[in-house]
């Protein structure tokens, strides 16, 4: 019974504390989404409970996790200037898990993996679709090189950069309709890697 009374008192003390220092009455959050991505700037919104000015974080805002930091935990703490004009550390911290950058998608003149290509474009690009949590335009990928394989033909067409060479494009145009090709690109930028896509001509 003593324990229950103690817990009850502690509870009401916490409530009183919160009511005094905070006008908010609810917090809604998704703990699984407390992540940073390597190389992707993520904006943080900070709000102090109580009368504070000049809130500062221990990390830059937006925060960009450095390459190679995936798997680590970033602990975010906060300081602010109180009513007496003194900078104080605010109680608590928030922990964010750093994840590897999501794998981008390959687009050949706007056509994606599994598409039937209706126009031959020279341009290969690598970027994110609408299935990454952060806003579009934060990715910055460069196509380093490409390897094109045509179903049934020996050998590959290999080139550098994001533009399929005129020679290779002419070779692709000569392939009869309905044939399939695969394009594998090496990319760098927000992350480095390989990506393969299949296209029907």
């Amino acid at each position: 019974m003593k324990k229950i009374i103690f817990v009850g008192q502690l509870f009401f003390a916490t409530i009183a504390f919160c009511q005094e220092f905070n006008s908010k009455s609810a917090i809604i959050e998704t703990p699984e989404m407390q992540v940073f991505y390597e190389g992707i700037p993520i904006l943080l919104n900070v709000e102090a409970f109580g009368e504070y000015k000049d809130i500062q974080l221990n990390i830059p805002n937006p925060y960009t996790a450095p390459p190679g930091s995936a798997g680590s935990i970033v602990t975010v703490t906060c300081s602010a200037v109180n009513k007496k004009g003194k900078r104080v550390d605010l109680e608590g911290c928030r922990k964010f898990t750093v994840k590897k950058t999501p794998k981008p998608e390959l687009s050949w003149g706007g056509f994606t993996d599994g598409s039937t290509v209706r126009a031959f474009s020279q341009t290969l690009s690598v970027g994110y679709g609408d299935n990454v949590p952060f806003g579009k335009g934060k990715d910055n990928f460069t196509v380093v090189g490409y390897v094109i394989s045509v179903y049934g033909l020996k050998g590959t067409l290999e080139g550098e950069g994001s533009e399929i060479s005129e020679l290779h494009l002419e070779a692709l145009k000569a392939i009869s309709k309905g044939n399939k090709i695969t394009i594998q690109v090496k990319y760098s930028g927000s992350s480095n890697g390989l990506i393969t896509s299949m296209f029907e001509l």
Partner: protein, 196 residues
Amino acid sequence: MKKITVIVSLFISSFGAWGQGFLIETPEMLVFYEGIPIEIQACATGNYKNVVMSVPSPYTAASGSAGSIVVVSLSGTDSEGNSVSLGTKKFLVKKAPKPELIWNGVADGGRAMRSGGLLACVYGDNVPFSPSKGRFEILSYSIVVEGVKGSLEGTGSAISTSHLNALKSIKGDSRVTITVKYTGSGNGIISGSFQI
């Protein structure tokens, strides 16, 4: 006793968040994914009863709801018996991330063993939620071997014995591209290129 249990559990659930002197949010990460259950934690201060959230936790956004906004609200009954809104938060629904194609545990660009025929679509460690939340089923596959005319087409996630035998008969190093159609936490097509 029931009341005490409610109070204690409310206290425990609220202590973690309210024990802090500040609140940090990453507004871009206020996202739900189609087909992926995402846990929501909510707590309220004050003397409220019957505190309820407008959506279940974990919340799984329905297939086809990408682009919509889910408003999560917390409401309760105050000491005078009035229903009050305690707070709301808006989440954008996105398509589930694209999985990665694995052939016998080897990812796109790797050297695969032609002796095994197990294909799988899985999430890597680059999704915000636990990768195990992605549940995928491979509907069909198409295998193309560099320099060989035609493709090996099959259904399901296991490469058929006859197709495996065809792959085993290839002499020397070759590049194989496998494209699969998948369903489950997301639907789509994904390709992988492997050295054999």
